[in-house]
Structure formats: structure tokens, C-alpha cells
């Protein structure tokens, strides 16, 4: 049976998998020890749980458990990676390369570093959302100390050529960080094969709890050093002090193990569902545009623009469905999505976009219902849209003298 409302915003967050919750529960009330207590069984028990979780994470991303630094989430990991590397390697150089479609946790951190005297190159992206590797190569200078390119985009789901970027960085002796918050647990990630030196990830994007995440920090070839942002007890190899959040860490570990086991099947299932949704909508509506590369994208992601209707009013018509829009009206800044704008999508179409985020608990019934409702809502709003009417009359909307406001 179809249950409303439907959650189709899995890029924003995910529910905790019941199996994850079950693994966590004993660590709140019975096994509550401090993992840093070395002198009694409560501490040992907690430490053992943390070690197990560290192994579960390491297994998923193919690294050594000691290379996992637990943090509060991907935002903290991004801050620690960029600021930590920038401060530690300042003598070596002052140049960082990233991309315009990165998450704000990268962009705003990069801007702060610029204020502190670093130079940052923000690579543009091609219309499919991918960066140009030749442009990346030519942007490298002898001052470049870090390249930070996200693995999968949170709005349009496109997956960057991470292994190629890793190789370019390696050849030039530059550290490579990737924000993989949307990718870890969804697609196969191997930090060795991909040449990644630092990688941010987050628990609540992969059916783990909120407030926990991690930063992978390479130990060998090369050994990456970071200046910590948090000083204190020297936890996490001195890179992130603070008592370990044991229940959350246990949850993150469990979430990683489940994702690792089910990823391939889940990915295939969700790719099929996404294709069904896309075909349904595109089959019944004209002037619908897919945003982002058609194949190089997360199985979970569908992002489309519906010409002549505005995203926020579209969401209002889909009130039983939790979705996101690139429309300005859904943000505090009144600017349409900077990610879509970076692809060269016009402001009008950026205002008209919807992001569908599919996930572990999405059902075929939901996909069918959402497709049907989207078609209905778009048709209704197009009836109401002066732009649609003008377009149907054959008026070129680009030639109209609009009154900007």
C-alpha cells in the first residue's frame, strides 16, 4: 500500500536503517564507556566497538583502519581537509584547485582560505556537469598544494572522473581530496585505485545517524599531514580531538557494512526505478530537460527542468511528495541553483528544476505515483503559465523585452 507523504529527497538525508539503529542502541545505556579509558572494561568495550567500526569503514573504501578519522560529518571533514592541508603545506605552496559545482562546505572554506592569502582556482564544468581534465592539468602551477573535486554532486548526481584526477595529482605530487558525501555507500569507492589522499564522507547520507562522518587521511605514499582544527586530547592520531561518539561511530560502521553488501543490487534496482520515472515523465510531457550527464551519475539521482513552470509552485502542487527544487524561491538567497547555472542552464530553467532523490526504501508504487503527480502538476501549471501560452503562440521568449525586477 502506498503511504503518504513520500520521501524522495534522499540526497538531503536518509532515515537510519533499522539494522543500524539496533547495532547502536546498547552503546547509549549499557556499553557507555569512553573509548579513551584504558584502565577498565567499560573503556575497552567502547574501544573495541570503535575499532570494529573503523574496520567496517575501511573495508568499504579499501583503506587501512588507521587512516579513518571520525568527525561530526562531511562539512567538518571538508573543513579539516582544506584548512588542515593549507596550514600544514603553506611553505610548499599557496594554490588550491577546486570546482564551481562543489558543495558550500568546500566553496566557503576555500573563500576563507583566499582571505588568508591562498589562491584558489574554481574550475568551470562542462554542460554535462563534469570537469575538463585538460583544464585541470593546465591550471596546476608549481604553487599548487591541493586539488579538491567532489566525487558525486549533491544536486545533479554526476560522478567526476576521480581516478583520472587522482592520477594527475599523483604525477604532479599534489594532494587530492574528494568530498564523497553523496558517493560513499552508493557507488564503489577504492581510495587506492582512485589515487585519493583525503576523502570526506557522512553517516546520514548512507542510512547511518546524523552528526557522524569521517575523513580518510592517507598514511603512506604519501603520508598526509594535517594541522588539526580542534586541539585537546589528541584523539584520532591528533587530527581531531574530542571524546569519540561511540554509538554514532558504531552506527556509521554498521551503515558502511550494510551499504557495502547491498550496494550493487541496490544500485541496479534504483537505476531501473530512476529510468522508469524519467521515461514516464518525458513520455508524457514536452520540453523537459535532464540536468547533468545522462550516464555518469548516481543511480539515486534524477534532476529535471520543466520549461514554463516555476519550481516552488511545482513543489506546492506535489505537497505529498518530499522533493527539492533549484528554484530561487526555495532558498533564502533568492538566487537559483548555482550548480545548474554552472552547467549553462538558463536562470529560467534553473527556476524550473526538481531533484528526485531515490533511496533504499523507495518502492515501485511510489515511482508510479510520483511520475503521475508530476505530470499532472506540470500540466496544470502550464495551463496557468503565460510563458507556455506565449511559446505555444510561437513567440520566441528570448526576444521579449522583459521587465527585470
Amino acid at each position: 500500500m502506498l503511504k503518504l507523504p513520500i520521501f524522495m529527497d534522499y540526497h538531503s538525508t536518509t532515515p537510519v536503517d533499522p539494522r543500524v539503529l539496533e547495532a547502536m542502541l546498547p552503546y547509549f545505556t549499557q556499553k557507555f564507556g569512553n573509548a579513551a579509558s584504558k584502565n577498565h572494561s567499560f573503556g575497552w568495550e567502547a574501544e573495541e566497538a570503535v575499532n570494529k567500526a573503523r574496520e567496517q569503514v575501511a573495508q568499504l573504501i579499501s583503506c587501512h583502519p588507521k587512516e579513518v578519522v571520525f568527525t561530526s560529518g562531511a562539512t567538518e571533514s571538508d573543513n579539516l581537509a582544506l584548512k588542515g592541508v593549507a596550514s600544514m603545506y603553506r611553505e610548499k605552496g599557496n594554490h588550491i584547485i577546486t570546482a564551481v559545482t562543489e558543495h558550500k562546505a568546500i566553496l566557503d572554506t576555500a573563500k576563507r582560505l583566499e582571505k588568508e592569502g591562498f589562491k584558489v582556482t574554481y574550475l568551470p564544468v562542462k554542460p554535462d556537469g563534469l570537469i575538463d581534465l585538460e583544464l585541470l592539468k593546465s591550471s596546476i602551477t608549481d604553487q599548487t598544494i591541493l586539488i579538491s573535486i567532489m566525487m558525486a554532486n549533491n544536486e545533479i548526481g554526476v560522478i567526476q572522473p576521480i581516478a583520472e584526477i587522482g592520477q594527475i595529482a599523483k604525477e604532479r605530487g599534489i594532494l587530492f581530496h574528494t568530498d564523497a558525501a553523496q558517493a560513499v555507500g552508493k557507488i564503489p569507492v577504492n581510495v587506492e585505485a582512485m589515487g585519493i589522499d583525503l576523502m570526506s564522507f557522512s553517516g546520514h547520507k548512507m542510512y547511518g545517524p546524523k552528526g557522524i562522518g569521517g575523513l580518510y587521511v592517507r598514511r603512506k605514499n604519501p603520508r598526509v599531514r594535517l594541522l588539526p582544527m580542534m586541539d585537546g586530547g589528541g584523539h584520532e592520531r591528533g587530527m581531531r580531538s574530542g571524546t569519540l561518539n561511540v554509538p554514532m561511530i558504531v552506527g556509521l560502521g554498521e551503515a558502511c557494512e550494510i551499504s557495502g553488501k547491498e550496494m550493487i543490487q541496490e544500485g541496479l534496482r534504483l537505476t531501473q526505478m530512476r529510468k522508469k520515472l524519467q521515461d514516464h515523465i518525458m513520455g508524457e510531457l514536452d520540453e523537459v530537460y535532464l540536468n547533468g550527464h545522462p550516464e555518469n551519475r548516481l543511480p539515486q539521482n534524477l534532476n529535471m527542468s520543466f520549461a514554463y513552470v516555476e519550481g516552488e509552485s511545482l513543489l506546492m502542487g506535489l505537497k505529498e511528495i518530499a522533493l527539492s527544487s533549484g528554484s530561487a524561491c526555495t532558498t533564502a538567497t533568492l538566487e537559483p541553483s548555482y550548480v545548474l547555472r554552472a552547467l549553462g542552464v538558463g536562470s529560467d530553467l534553473a527556476h524550473s528544476s526538481l531533484r528526485f532523490g531515490l533511496g533504499r526504501f523507495t518502492t515501485d508504487e511510489e515511482i508510479e505515483y510520483v511520475g503521475k503527480k508530476v505530470v499532472e502538476a506540470v500540466n496544470r501549471l502550464r495551463e496557468m503559465s503565460p510563458l507556455y501560452e506565449m511559446a505555444k503562440e510561437g513567440i520566441d521568449l528570448k526576444s521579449v523585452q522583459w521587465t527585470e525586477h
Binding site: 516555476e310 524561491c329 526555495t330 536562470s347 503565460p386 501560452e389 521587465t403 525586477h405
Partner: protein, 127 residues
């Protein structure tokens, strides 16, 4: 964005949605806004003997923009041109309980009324 009941009602049951014949001399058409800004309103007034007999709107925009223009068509009907010209965006804001970030929608509705009146006057050589 959580909307007032009135905005939601106008969104679900828009009043006077549609078009009038823009070639008709008795019809004044105002189109304001820009697709790049995320809202465009078209407001049409059918005027007879100085009185607004009928009104229609079509709006591309958020829920507040749709509600503002829907409300405007309700308010202008039966009014003289001068009376319709006096409608202030602040009245729309109050009626619909629009939050500060949505005030521009009400401004657009006021502009649309004025643009439609201006179009009618221009068509009929009324100064």
C-alpha cells in the same frame, strides 16, 4: 516555505485564471516580470464604460505570485480604472499574509494592474 491558508486556497482554486482576447479594444493586457527572475504575470482587464467588467490572469511563479495575481483579478472587478489604479501592494501583502521574502510578488501584481490599465488607455487614446 509555509504559506497562509489564503495563499494555498488561491493556488488550489485560482480565480479568473485564463486569457481574454488581447486584440479586443476593450481589453487591456499587462505582462510584468521576467523568466530569469522566476516570475512573470499576465493580467488582462475587460473594460466597459470605465468599469472593469472582467479580469483574467496567467502567472509563472511561486505560490505567492499565483495567489497575488489571482487576488488582484478578484479585487479589480467592478472597479473604475481610477479605483483599480489605487490598489496597493501592501493591501495584497496583508490579505495574503505574505512573508517579507515574498513582498516582491505583491509588487508585481500591483505593477500588472497598472500595466494593464496603461495598455487599455494606450489602445483607446486615453491620456
Amino acid at each position: 516555505m509555509s504559506y497562509s491558508k489564503k495563499v494555498i486556497d488561491h493556488y488550489n482554486n485560482p480565480r479568473n485564471m485564463g486569457s481574454l482576447d488581447k486584440a479586443d479594444k476593450e481589453v487591456g493586457t499587462g505582462v510584468v516580470g521576467a523568466p530569469e527572475c522566476g516570475d512573470v504575470m499576465k493580467l488582462q482587464l475587460k473594460i466597459s464604460g470605465g468599469i472593469i467588467e472582467d479580469a483574467r490572469f496567467k502567472t509563472f511563479g511561486c505560490g505567492s505570485a499565483i495567489a497575488s495575481s489571482s487576488l488582484a483579478t478578484e479585487w479589480v472587478k467592478g472597479k473604475t480604472l481610477d479605483e483599480a489604479f489605487q490598489i496597493k501592494n501592501t493591501e495584497i501583502v496583508n490579505e495574503l499574509s505574505l512573508p517579507p521574502v515574498k513582498i516582491h510578488c505583491s509588487v508585481l501584481a500591483e505593477d500588472a494592474i497598472k500595466a494593464a490599465i496603461a495598455d487599455y488607455k494606450k489602445k483607446n487614446d486615453i491620456a
